[in-house]
């Protein structure tokens, strides 16, 4: 369990090459493609962080917008006082704290309650933040002035995405990952083996929430003006669920398969048919349930398994394998 397998080394090399190539992008374009790529990298970070928790536990979290907004707000509130990296860490910490509280209240009970609770969470936090701002006599919005260009934000977001992947990989190799695999098989057996299933889910939800909060913090300088309705927009939560499930959550890199095409589609739809985004989101959910229940990746693996099974049966394949 300490040695790297050949397959893991190959994936690491491919990943490193892909990240290096992605990091070169701002050199070639600072306009439309950089903006689009930043969105893709943003959703890659969000969806992979979401999958860290929701993949093994099968809980559908809609708390993404709440964590993300808290991250953005941490930066907006502190930008004049504290250095940016501290604020990103603070954004992650605040989001993790919220995740811990939500998890402690809901994860011990049933999955439906968790979905319902997270469904309104972003709206709840938005109400509380707005109310506090009004009470304190501050204006509704906050200005975020930094020296960061879009390329800087892009690089930071790329680094965060790499960190999410690295964390996910470390988890699969740890006791935590093994425990999750057991819970995924049979939660009752897991408990009788001595696994504290409730605490484990909370810890995992906090890790996932922290990364989402950091993503929100990193993106904050992109909007020079932050106000509650935009920072806590619930749509983000739903987009993350769709993209992750479209790709497939059985593997860490599964969501990527959904992120890239769907970000491009959403970019197109919101530019051409801004009023019809709910319809697209609705159809995407129905497509996931009825057409791609295991995501694109699951469908591909199914196909491959079927091919492998049918191959020995076909005489041509058997003949080809025999030495001439």
């Amino acid at each position: 369990m300490t040695q790297l397998s050949a397959g893991e080394i190959r994936i690491a090399l491919i990943g490193a090459a892909a990240v290096a190539a992605a990091a070169m992008l701002p050199v070639f374009d600072q306009g439309f493609y950089l903006t689009l790529s930043l969105n893709i990298v943003l959703f890659a970070a969000l969806c992979t962080a979401w999958t860290l928790f929701s993949g093994p536990t099968h809980y559908i979290s809609l708390a993404t917008a709440a964590f993300f907004g808290l991250g953005t707000y941490s930066v907006a509130l502190g930008i004049d006082v504290l250095p940016f990296p501290v604020l990103v860490a603070a954004g992650g910490a605040v989001a993790a704290l919220l995740a811990g509280l939500v998890g402690a209240a809901t994860l011990r009970i049933s999955g439906v309650y968790f979905v319902i609770f997270t469904l309104g969470l972003a709206e709840l936090i938005r109400q509380i933040v707005s109310w506090t701002q009004v009470k304190l006599g501050a204006s509704m919005g906050l200005y975020v002035f930094t020296d960061f260009s879009e390329a800087h934000i892009y690089w930071m977001m790329l680094a965060l995405t790499v960190a999410v992947f690295a964390t996910g990989w470390l988890i699969t190799r740890s006791r935590l990952g093994f425990a999750l695999q057991i819970i995924g098989n049979d939660e009752q057996v897991a408990r009788h083996c001595g696994i504290d299933t409730a605490r484990l889910k909370i810890v995992l939800f906090m890790i996932s929430g922290a990364f989402i909060g950091m993503a929100g913090a990193i993106l904050a300088p992109r909007y020079s003006y932050v106000e509650p309705p935009a920072a806590f927009s619930p749509t983000v939560s739903f987009l993350v669920v769709i993209m992750a499930l479209l790709g497939g959550t059985r593997r860490l890199w599964g969501p990527l398969v959904g992120v890239v095409p769907f970000t491009i589609v959403m970019e197109f739809v919101s530019a051409r048919f801004p009023n019809d985004t709910p319809i697209v989101i609705g159809l995407a959910f129905l497509a996931i349930v009825f057409v791609l229940p295991d995501g694109v990746l699951g469908r591909l693996e199914q196909l491959r398994a079927r091919l492998r099974r049918s191959r020995p049966a076909s005489p041509a394949a058997v003949a080809a394998k025999e030495p001439a």
């Binding site: 669920v241 009023n275 985004t277 609705g282």
Partner: protein
Amino acid sequence: MEILVTGILLGGTYALIALGLTLQYGVARIMNLANGETLVAAGFIAFWLFTSYQVSPLWGLLVIAPVAFAVNWAIYVWLLRPLVDRAKNQGMLEVDSILATFGLLFLFQGLMLRSFGGAYVSYTFLAERFTIFGSPYGLNRVVAFLAAALIGASLWSFLYLTRRGTAVRAVAVNPHSSNLVGIDVAGTAALAFALGGALTACGGTLLSTFYTFNASMGVLFTIKALIIVIMGGVGDVRGAVLAALILGVAETSVASLVDPGLTLSATYALFILVLLFRPQGIFGRQQT
């Protein structure tokens, strides 16, 4: 006192909406997250009937309820039953139905945005004063409460006094044994889902007589209804009514004593209390 009466008047309508959801979740075992959209759609139709044809919302119920019944029945039979049939266990069905009804939520929302736009809508119906215990209240709220009570009472008589109603309650307790004693479980589930949709639509129609709404508000009502259902205990009619009244009063108190912008916080505070202390519902027994 004023808060209490206003809260109870509001709670009456909430109860109807929550009864709809508790029928859908408790009997058909589908967590319908598009429930709020049914409500908003009913409100829009009532608005349209009233402003274009001067049809009173109370007469409008006679149109809206059957339409909602038919649409929800079709949704259950064509869209959700295949999921019920393919699910290997309760957990899978839960995830599938949540995702599918999310799809419906956004689809309906998008269609309503196309048809009615995103603006807030309200109309003036029975906006007269009505005095209870010396304080004035909107007559529309009082009428909505009475209508809700009437519909709730007819639901109760259906569930407790008729054969079909008894079948519905039996399936809520145990679908498997119901099947053994010769109840058509699949048919009863479809009936309950459709009936639930119709009740929610009635709630939406009544709510629209005194409430300002828009096309993207459905989710908030879904959350409220879900919290009422959980508070009352899933499938528990008595509990849902009591929980709806509690939520109505709690929201009205927060809105008038603290800040109208914090009503959702009141809802969530109740939710957390229930989750921590009585996750099985107010009247619920501990599950085995």
